[in-house]
Amino acid sequence: MSTSRLGGDGLRLAYDRRVVAQNLTVAVPDNSFTVIIGPNACGKSTLLRALSRLLKPAAGAVLLDGTNIHRLAARSVARTLGLLPQSPTAPDGIAVAELVARGRYPHQGLLRQWSPDDERIVAESMAATGVDDLADRLVDELSGGQRQRVWLAMALAQQTPLLLLDEPTTYLDIAHQIEVLDLCARLHEEQGRTLVAVLHDLNHAARYATHLIAMRGGRVVAAGEPRRIVTAELVEEVFGLPCRVIDDPETGTPLVIPAARVRAGTVVR
């Protein structure tokens, strides 16, 4: 059993009275690239919100290094756990380097607003995500893929061992999706960070994740290495989708091929 700095124990997650998940227990293995998947409204984003301290569980606790995350100060959590939400907004007229610099906020004080460390780490984060040559450009002017890399650079500048990403590939075209996921995989491998992402695309999840959490109806159906858990039965159970699972010819990871029910206008029997 691998160690885990972040996890949830007996979570009951609810918005007002609407209960999304009951008695949910999850663990994020250290140094993993954990991906949470599941159909719409299965509670995967809600789980990520709970893990990132945005949503307070109605029961149970999210534990960060063994302490209830809601007992910790927001700023001290932000030095251990970074979050890239689904649709952050860039202020009008902000330049790339300035946005990335905002990732340093949890490390700054009232009098210590811009240390040499801040400057170096911001430059490194921009280099790691390949946005260093965009430093002086305005964020509004960038393409969707570039913008997402800038946000990732901001999250990196926060220098947290744990990084949570809520659907980082949404609204991107396929090439930019792969670009962002490649980048995440590289950050995970080279910098040894623990990444947790919510993804929509099961094949992306199976290809990039080292640890997969499959959810349906507010509970975890399966968790583990994709090669071990992604089977036709699991996909049918989680998504209600009949399919075949083959080896990805590029990576050897599981590749889900939905069963054909319609082919070019004719129904297949």
Partner: protein
């Protein structure tokens, strides 16, 4: 970007334009202030004014400056600073360029407080206190209706507009119930005026500024993070709810106390942050420049109303006309630029 570092302890960054705009504001305000003190039935040259301010004037000059003209100027500066700062805080809080106390009903609430005192007859101290109370009560009401279950800027603006409409009705009713003499006193107050303001009028606001300016400025970095959205700000370690409570309380107090000191001087809180943002071209929240510009336009408008226009108008007439005109112009040009 100018980087400032002192022995590894103190460090910060500054947009050069922010520094330039700040310096220009301070210089211009000082200039207007010196001219303002010199202007009047007993004219004084800028040199005389400076000599008197530094303690070298005759007894008569000393009296005119410190007892008659300086209080009015200082009240104007304090009101402008408070409104500029509060306006910038409100706009950032509700993430809406219309999120000013004029629009959200705080001003009308303060007016209701003042009108109640006019209706039952009371001293000007009671009127000021009641105006402050009216503003704070409106803040509390809006908090209870729109705020408690997590704030959404848009909802706050709509609730504010509703509250403002109700209070305008209440104010109209109160005005019809008071005798004619009181009604004209009320109307003067409602326009926003610095006439005959003494040290006792400025004191509560000055005290509040001494505490709230540093407090709000200390919140500025966290406030800047909330521009990225609540989730991203929380992820960066900002306690968003506590921050909002603190900022709302501070801004409401500033607005209420400035209304108590000079009546509801219109449009300064709306215009100053916009001007600050356009002039500094810095992205996002610019609290200090907004406060400086607020002070400058209030004092300049008061001088304009007093000396350049016929009939010794109250300051609120000028800020209303110029501020409103500026807003319309802003909307027209921003619309053309496709930004609003």
């Amino acid at each position: 970007m100018i980087v400032i570092r002192v022995r590894g302890r103190l460090s910060g960054r500054l947009h050069p334009r922010v520094l330039a705009v700040g310096t220009a504001c301070v210089l211009l305000t000082t200039g207007v202030g010196v001219l303002a003190i010199g202007h009047g039935d007993y004219p004084m040259s800028p040199a005389d004014v400076l000599r008197t301010l530094t303690g070298g004037g005759t007894a008569a000059e000393e009296f005119i400056v410190t007892q008659l003209r300086l209080p009015r100027l200082v009240t104007g500066l304090a009101v402008g600073t408070a409104l500029g700062l509060a306006g910038a805080v409100f706009q950032a809080l509700v993430r809406n360029p219309l999120g000013s106390p004029d629009m959200l009903g705080f001003t009308q609430g303060a007016a209701t407080g003042a009108l109640v005192v006019v209706a039952v007859g009371g001293s000007s101290a009671a009127l000021s206190g009641s105006a402050a109370l009216g503003g704070v009560m409106t803040g509390l009401l809006i908090y209870l209706v729109a705020w408690r279950r997590g704030v959404h800027g848009y909802r706050l603006v709509l609730v504010g507009i509703g509250t403002s409409a109700i209070l305008t009705g209440v104010n109209g009713y109160l005005l019809t119930r008071v005798p004619l003499m009181s009604a004209s006193r009320a109307m003067l107050w409602l326009t926003g005026s610095l006439d005959g303001r003494g040290w006792s009028d400025a004191a509560p606001l000055l005290t509040a500024l001494a505490v709230l300016v540093p407090t709000l400025l200390a919140c500025a970095p966290a406030l800047r993070m909330t521009e990225l959205g609540d989730d991203a700000a929380s992820g960066l370690g900002v306690d968003v709810h506590r921050l909002r409570m603190l900022l709302l309380t501070g801004a409401v107090l500033l607005v209420a106390l400035s209304a108590a000191a000079a009546g509801p001087v219109p449009f300064v809180a709306l215009t100053a942050p916009h001007l600050a943002r356009r002039l500094t071209r810095a992205p996002g929240v610019t609290l200090l420049p907004a406060a400086a510009i607020g002070a400058l336009i209030t004092v300049a408008a008061d001088q304009l109303a007093l000396h350049a226009l016929p009939g010794q108008l109250p300051v609120g007439v000028v800020t209303g006309v110029i501020g409103g005109g500026y807003l319309v112009w802003l909307l027209a040009t921003e619309r053309r630029a496709g930004r609003l």
